[in-house]
């Protein structure tokens, strides 16, 4: 508990419906998720004294924190913050909330990630001219596009060159998501995949294929973060935040970062385990970001579940990360299967697992979960414990 000055817990989680299509009012999505989290913890809006949210910024994907305060009729907040897209994805809100609660600046924080398919669909074709000013003058004239898609494709190429392994290693991450997603009613892509499906999926940017990429959806999820002391009096079994960490790596940047393959994941993982009361060997389940399969593999190795470059051998054709495996991974199907409600959904799933509320996909006796988000210059991670 070295990283937090008073014990912090996650006392409620909730989701809006997750949709593949249609137009959605972001206020309604955020409201549905936040209301569900309040109900889950059996709290009323005025029990909340902090709201923190993460969004891309400028893409209309999420209402701001005080917008949700207004929706819920909360009279005042002791902490509020809108974290823009350079943080560790949706986990950023939960990390900030854990710090705010630990510091005593607030008592009970509501965090959410709300996203629409339109805002999150970075693979869409842009037909309007894309400005090539600022940092973009060194990338847009060369046809770099699709958010971080090309930069992730180059990481996959470089990893196979430098550390060995094969396309199939990446495929096992994609196949795993559907194995778990088939057991998750929220998941939007639930059909099983074969390795042939993966290897023959549409090339996006060699060696990156479509099934390396997560699936844009519209939806929201939310969590309530409070002191462990207060959580003990609330409706759900207590899930403690044991450790939190950020990591950037040297020369942090999605394109020019010194450690191109791992970004900040190694720094983040080192910091996480140095402040946690447990170690990688104690982890019962891992909810590791899978915006792209490369990211998940980086986290597995950075967190020390296997050595650097050893993922392909370690994953044992997917057996060790699947149902019944030694390290159940992305038990909700991750963003590859459940859909990209962007990062915070790894926290909410870990909480449900550690409470033992996951039905068909429940990992028996799970007490220690690790969550990580993002890659490159904006990494974050959290260890959660069922005491």
């Amino acid at each position: 508990m070295a990283g937090l000055t008073r014990p912090v817990a996650i006392a409620g989680v909730g989701y809006s419906p997750i949709s593949r299509d249609g137009q959605h009012d972001i206020r309604r999505l955020a409201l549905q998720a936040c209301r569900a989290a309040l109900d889950d913890a059996a709290l009323k809006p005025d029990d909340i004294d902090a709201i923190i949210e993460y969004q891309f910024g400028g893409r209309g994907d999420s209402p701001i924190a005080v917008g949700v305060q207004r929706l819920l009729g909360i009279k005042n907040l002791h902490v509020f913050n809108d974290i823009m897209g350079s943080g560790p994805s949706g986990l950023a809100g939960a990390l900030d909330a854990a710090m705010a609660v630990a510091s005593g600046a607030c008592e009970t924080a509501l965090v959410y990630r709300c996203i629409t398919r339109d805002a999150g669909h970075s693979g869409a074709l842009q037909t309007a001219p894309i400005p090539a000013a600022g940092p973009a003058q060194f990338s847009v004239p060369y046809g770099l596009g699709g958010g971080i898609i090309h930069s992730i494709a180059m990481r996959k190429q470089r990893r196979i060159f430098e550390l060995g392994g094969s396309n199939e290693d990446y495929g096992y991450v994609a196949l795993n998501s559907r194995k778990w997603g088939a057991r998750n009613d929220r998941a939007v892509l639930r059909d099983p995949l074969t390795m042939d499906d993966y290897l023959s999926s549409r090339p996006v940017a060699d060696p990156l294929v479509l099934l390396d990429c997560d699936y844009p959806v519209s939806g929201a999820c939310a969590a309530i973060i409070t002191t462990a002391e207060r959580a003990a009096d609330m409706a759900q079994p207590v899930v403690l935040v044991d450790a939190i960490a950020y990591g950037t790596g040297t020369n942090p940047d999605w394109i020019y970062q010194d450690d191109f393959l791992f970004g900040g994941t190694l720094d983040c993982a080192h910091r996480l385990w140095s402040t946690s009361s447990v170690s990688a060997a104690d982890v019962d389940l891992a909810e590791l970001y899978d915006g792209f399969t490369h990211i998940t593999i980086s986290w597995i190795e950075a967190l020390g579940f296997c050595g650097i470059g050893e993922f392909g051998e370690w994953v044992d054709e997917g057996r060790c990360i699947g149902p019944g495996g030694s390290l159940p991974l992305n038990t909700h199907g991750g963003q590859l299967s459940e859909g990209r409600i962007h990062g915070l959904s790894f926290v909410t799933e870990a909480v449900l697992q550690l409470r033992g509320q996951c039905g068909d996909r429940q990992v028996d006796g799970a007490r220690v979960g690790v969550v990580s988000n993002a890659h490159g210059p904006q990494c974050g991670a959290m260890v959660l414990l069922r005491p």
Binding site: I130, A132, Q137, L144, R158, V204, A205
Partner: protein, 158 residues
């Protein structure tokens, strides 16, 4: 019934209406980067170098991250390097590049310094020639009022 031809505005290339295909973008230089594009105009690849400690940095910035000197001098470099990482773009995200598919994006590590990388296209290469560590050299592509530094597979013995 008379045969009706689609107007040219309705013709599609790579799924994009032809009239929607933009001209390829040119850089929009600013006070900090003006030297880079002007150097390219005269066929030189210029990279900022710290006057105090000799560190190279790209893209251009306002301070040397190694010694915090703000005296950064545009310096000609050899234009030689090797492919650090690359990808073959199979899907266009920018309508201006629809007709270029497949094209090659790469990070080239310049020979002057470890981790000194430039994002570029690899032009004129067969796809089976591409690999990390393959030697490349700078060339310049005319694009309207600008010249873009680009890289090609290095001539043998270069």
């Amino acid at each position: 019934m008379a045969i009706r031809y689609r107007s040219s505005a309705e013709r599609r290339i790579g799924g994009v209406r032809e009239k929607d295909i933009q001209e390829k973008p040119v850089p929009e230089p600013d006070g900090l980067t003006w030297f880079y594009w002007e150097g390219a105009q005269s066929g030189q690849l210029l990279v900022q170098r710290c006057e105090s400690c000799g560190h190279f940095l790209h893209p251009p910035n306002v301070v040397c991250p190694r010694c915090l000197s703000e005296s950064l001098i545009p310096t000609p470099v050899s234009g030689r390097g090797k492919i650090y990482a690359y990808t073959v773009a199979r899907q266009a995200f920018d309508g201006a590049f629809v007709e270029d598919i497949p094209y090659v994006l790469a990070l080239v590590e310049l020979e002057e310094q470890a981790n000194l990388r430039i994002l570029t296209n690899i032009v004129g290469a067969q796809l089976d020639e591409l690999a990390s560590d393959v030697a490349v050299e700078v060339t310049f592509e005319d694009r309207r009022d600008y010249k873009l530094p680009q890289f090609r597979i290095a001539a043998q013995g270069a």
